[in-house]
Symmetry: C2
Subunit: 349 residues, 2 copies
């Protein structure tokens, strides 16, 4: 932890030192960490000759999460998860994280410790060491920044290398996180929704599981031409791939895998689960393009290796109209833009 922004310590406020000890205890003797938290910089030992992956995300209270229903450990988990998802999208191996947190003066030590416990729980699942950070007082709400460093075991999978004719595919099922967000924003549970569907959707929003093992397997398998993680939603993220690859894409709406919990929540709330799946965002599944002849092998291999489904939803096209969604008869279907955050939503009124 940098000490530049240390807070005054007192009885029930977390001192930087206490946090350092908490994290040191939780991550003893991590491989590749010569010096962890507590000096000016972490000193890390990357694997010789490998490429390094680096990504950072800033998450803000009432923009990216709400304290009303996101617990401190949920926030710590998710702040790390969204960065691990970026490493997964390159097919890389996440190794180290730096975590910066600013909280209002009124926040008690237990909440700050719970935040780090949430991040550490996910870090441990992926063999990631928290090697640095920063703590500060916030004049507003909670502010979290996480940087993750990873290593490219295989050639990193980019967004810019999809080709016309490639199959477009996604892991898992979509719309769960948007369903969870709708539920949590509503507060009261709707009638007729099972506890299991509610829990699945809420967890998808609060504690996403980045597809790290899937990303690594896909990068090793060969035949994948481009990959990105689904943070903004299928419509927006596929548009990024298309634009960076200077092509277009066509998605058959009926082939988009919609999560069972998303369907259940949508039914209970009178909403459209397919819109959540295409435009809800924050599912943190992987979106990839692959050679048409490779898809069946990739889907079977990924399911065997990780238990995760891979579903073909469309194909890349020559440059032209961007991303088009079509129905089973090939007719264009309008699909809204991807997930935007609370501030923007408020600004729109």
């Amino acid at each position: 932890m940098s000490d530049g922004h240390e807070r005054a310590a007192d009885g029930d406020r977390p001192t930087e030192r206490r946090l350092i000890e908490l994290i040191r205890r939780a991550a003893p003797a991590a491989p590749g960490v010569r010096v962890g938290i507590g000096d000016d910089c972490a000193v890390l030992e990357p694997s010789p000759g490998g490429a390094l992956l680096a990504t950072t995300d800033l998450l803000l209270e009432d923009v990216h999460f709400r304290r009303r229903y996101a617990s401190p450990d949920d926030i710590g988990w998710k702040a790390l998860a969204v960065n691990l998802s970026d490493v997964a999208a390159m097919g890389g191996r996440p190794r180290w994280a730096l975590v910066a947190l600013a909280v209002p003066e009124t926040v008690v030590a237990a909440d700050v410790e719970a935040f780090f416990a949430g991040a550490l729980a996910l870090a441990a699942e992926h063999g990631v060491a928290i090697v640095g950070g920063d703590t500060s007082a916030s004049p507003g709400g909670w502010i979290v920044n996480v940087t993750v460093l990873g290593e490219a075991v295989h050639a990193p999978l980019l967004r810019s290398t999809a080709r016309p004719g490639d199959v477009v595919a996604v892991t898992g099922a979509l719309g769960r996180a948007a369903a969870g967000l709708a539920l949590l924003e509503r507060g009261e549970a709707p009638a007729g929704l099972t506890a299991a569907a509610r829990a699945d959707a809420a967890a998808a929003h609060l504690r996403p599981r980045p597809r790290v093992a899937e990303g690594r397997w896909l990068a090793a398998a060969g035949g994948v031409t481009a990959m990105i993680d689904l943070s903004d939603g299928l419509a927006t993220d596929l548009a990024h791939v298309a634009e960076e690859s200077r092509g277009g894409a066509r998605v058959e709406l009926t082939r988009v895998p919609v999560g069972a919990s998303a369907r259940a929540v949508a039914a209970a709330l009178g909403r459209d689960p397919v819109a959540w799946a295409t435009s809800g965002g924050e599912d943190y599944e992987l979106l990839l393009t692959c050679e048409p002849g490779a898809f069946a092998r990739l889907a079977a291999g990924l399911a065997a290796a990780t238990g995760t489904l891979l579903t073909a939803v469309g194909e890349m096209t020559p440059a032209g109209p961007g991303v088009r969604f079509v129905d089973a008869a090939g007719r264009a279907v309008p699909v809204g833009p991807g997930f935007e955050h609370f501030v923007t939503e408020r600004a729109r009124g």
Copy 2:
């Protein structure tokens, strides 16, 4: 840039794409950058076999800077500078930066571009490439997080390796940043202060110059036993070294180099420049310990190589009373704690 928190674009708001283009243009074909901004992660090529240095700092409006007198380019400069200073304190070579920025919806594109221009100007001075980041809307003030990655050319200089009897020394002159902060907080310039002194002090606070070349030279020179950068102030940062090294320290107050502009500002405002030098913080000079026999060689060599003065101010002692400040007769002098930020100051009333 991650697109997870992209804002809606319109006429005079900066789009993520425009920022990406701005930064891509400013940093073409940086060495060691296989993929820069625009994908899920940056893909970097560290020097084979070297240790990697990583540090992160979160800077918040009205905690670490004020928009009233810090321009957007000042903020960008300083957010990078404080991280470069951490790499300098290890004796490392900074290489890559990830920059996350959240600004209120009312901020215009030109201000965001000026922020990045400030960071890019300092990055260019140090051969650092901005390889990733994140932009977001902030529901409060400006929020900046910068992560810097560097490489250890020599064995990194830690805080924990000072030994009793080692000389304690600092680069440059202290108290300038605290003097600048006092001036800027006051607003109106005091009578009798030269424009040059005012400019020097203000620049020390707004656009600190991290001692990167000095840190690298010192790490290569041999004889330095520990190093840290002066972010919290001499009293606090030396206490970190003493504590991590399980020792104490003794500083002769009359030997502490006080900046000329700090003396001038203090005289004009009726303040104590020595208190600024010991406890003001944010000077981003280097504090080191060295073998007593090495000091003269280090001071002469550093001045010859970089033009920067190295001043011995005291010595490390066996574990005991922490850091003691003494006058020329050896009598203990009370010295306050280091720099604390606006929020804490407000909370204290």
